[in-house]
């Protein structure tokens, strides 16, 4: 078990290194660099050309690509992700400040998705082919088809701008009522599509399990429907559900970019977008490492949860 975890962690390091390499090449091999964005080449005269050269030398952008790459990777392994070229702040400090906001939003939206999705999926499976099942599945189909940014804007329009029940933007942080009020709209925006996917999957997993012999036996023993569903059926349907929750976490983490843009949520997504538009290499690379490392680790945790859910699953 421990050697499995060690192997997976080592593998995760290589995957994140691969992601980093891809991002590094994508950012460096396309025309233009951050200095071009800061100091326009045209019309600046000799002074600005000199300043641009000085800036390139300061950030190592005048060195061959492989030198820049080796230096960046070596520093990254020592948790030095460089400084933002636009603000001059250390990227790691920015990540420490912004990551909790994105993580909080992602976890809250996963919570919304799980409660809505799993509840609706179980209900649909129990009322198979009935009116409740049809309504739930139609809503789920609509949920996966609705663009997140449109839903976000509509929710903001109705609940923040028209009714004034919830704040339209910003983050307070913490678990106080004000913090939760700020979280409701972005988390719902992000969670609805995932809820729709989870509802469809939970329904199909529950239907598979509900037709198993042990569920029939449990009913034949005279157990209440609640116990049959929760203890016998749901517990055995959890593996595919946990798998999709793990995958959805990654989708929510990157989907946060849209929710953060709409609701001015100060997280990694907005940081990444501003880094991309400003060609701020260290910012983009740092944010992508943080997001993909979280994604890879969550997938590892999901694999480990399997053993807890189903003792037959053994890792060598």
């Amino acid at each position: 078990m421990y050697s499995y975890i060690a192997n997976r962690l080592l593998y995760a390091v290589f995957v994140v290194l691969g992601v980093l390499t891809l991002v590094f090449l994508a950012m460096h091999l396309t025309p233009g660099d951050p200095v071009d964005m800061l100091i326009p080449a045209e019309g600046g005269g000799g002074g600005s050309r000199e300043l641009a050269a000085q800036l390139r030398a300061r950030y190592g952008l005048d060195q061959p690509l492989y030198v820049q790459y080796v230096k960046y990777v070596t520093n990254a392994f020592q948790l030095d992700l460089g400084n933002s070229i636009r603000t001059g702040r250390p990227v790691l400090e920015d990540l420490k400040r912004l990551y909790p906001a994105t993580f909080e939003l992602t976890v809250a939206s996963l919570l919304v998705a799980t409660i809505l999705g799993a509840g609706a999926g179980i209900l649909a499976a129990l009322k198979r082919n009935g009116i409740v099942d049809n309504i739930v599945m139609t809503l789920a189909l609509m949920g996966v088809s609705l663009p997140g940014f449109l839903l976000g804007l509509l929710l903001m329009l109705v609940f923040a701008l028209q009714l004034g029940w919830l704040p339209p933007s910003g983050r307070v942080g913490g678990f106080g009522w004000d913090g939760i009020r700020h979280l409701i709209l972005p988390a719902t925006t992000l969670g609805v599509a995932a809820a729709a996917i989870i509802a469809r999957l939970v329904r199909s997993a529950m239907l598979d399990v509900l037709s198993e012999d042990y569920v029939r036996t449990a009913r034949a023993k005279g157990l209440s429907e609640r116990i049959v569903v929760l203890r016998h059926a749901l517990k055995n349907a959890l593996i595919p559900i946990v798998t999709v929750l793990g995958l959805e976490f990654g989708g929510l983490l990157s989907g946060a970019i849209i929710a953060e843009t709409i609701f001015a949520w100060p997280g990694l997504g907005r940081y990444l977008i501003s880094g991309i538009t400003g060609k701020d290499f260290p910012t983009v690379q740092g944010a992508v490492i943080a997001i993909s490392a979280t994604f890879v680790l969550v997938n590892l945790v999901v694999d480990l949860i399997y053993t807890a859910l189903d003792p037959r699953v053994q890792y060598q």
Partner: protein, 274 residues
């Protein structure tokens, strides 16, 4: 075949979905004929007007006719859906086919590259590609295609692994067929169903991703009429004129919903075990 078609059309939502998609194609092809105004013509005397006989879906913040721009936006959505899914599908299928068929080192190398691409969650890869290539239709198509390659490759590889040990493949090999022949005629054609189902479902997702890229400002730039960009530009005015985001929003929603309905119906028809 006829039984499959009957099963496909037995789903009560199949026909409405086909009608919506047919309307989308007609709108995309005949946009200049169906439009009531020029898509980029600004009229500062008619800004943010609600729907009326003159402007069926109202006007935007620059007085442009939203109905006309939604029609022109369909061109981009149809192009992205077809080309991005085609390009991503072709690349992913080839990777999955080679990895699954040859196994060993080929499989290992190709699948590790796919693992790296899969470690880019959701829309992140598309954003990176679109932003590094610069705004425009080509970069959106490449970005959405790249985003779909890993899943296509995984689906194709698992189908190939399931098919390649079947008797008819062994028989073809024993009869002296060459690798290329076996791959194309026997394995590819017998592994294609899940790819086709995924491609249909992905059409809707491709349109959503393209619209999201434009919404974030890394897709199609103004003044080109694109549904995501229209919503992005209109969001500052949605309080005074909610219709500004509703026209393109409903167009995206109905199109994606229709592709998802067809994808589900196709899956139920071709893979009834699921």
């Amino acid at each position: 075949m006829r039984r499959n078609l009957r099963r496909f059309f037995r789903n009560p939502l199949t026909w409405p979905a086909l009608v919506v998609l047919l309307a989308l194609v007609v709108a995309a092809v005949f946009a200049p004929q169906l439009a009531t105004h020029q898509p980029n013509r600004q009229d500062f005397l008619a800004i943010l007007q609600p729907p009326s006989a003159e402007h069926w879906l109202g006007t935007d913040e620059l007085g442009r006719d939203i109905y006309t721009r939604v029609l022109y936006g369909a061109r981009i959505s149809v192009t992205v859906a077809l080309l991005a899914v085609g390009l991503g599908g072709l690349t992913g299928v080839l990777i999955g086919l080679f990895a699954g068929f040859f196994g060993g080192a080929t499989d290992n190398v190709l699948m590790r590259i796919i693992d790296v691409l899969l470690a880019f969650p959701g829309i992140l890869l598309a954003i990176l590609i679109a932003s590094t290539m610069g705004a425009g239709l080509t970069s959106i198509i490449v970005a959405v295609a790249a985003y779909s390659v890993p899943t296509f490759a995984r689906i194709m590889r698992s189908s190939v692994l399931a098919v390649k040990s079947r008797e008819f493949v062994e028989a073809a090999r024993a009869a002296g067929s060459r690798n290329f022949n076996i791959m194309v005629r026997h394995i590819f054609l017998n592994s294609f169903t899940p790819v086709l189902v995924y491609a249909t479902l992905l059409m809707g997702s491709a349109i959503l991703t393209a619209a999201a890229l434009s919404f974030l400002g890394v897709g199609i730039n103004p003044p080109t009429a694109e549904w995501g960009a229209m919503i992005s530009a209109g969001r500052s005015f949605m309080r005074q004129a909610p219709h500004i985001i509703l026209g393109p929003g409903v167009a995206i929603f109905l199109t994606v919903l229709s592709f998802n309905i067809l994808g589900d119906a196709l899956r139920d028809t071709l893979d009834p075990k699921r």
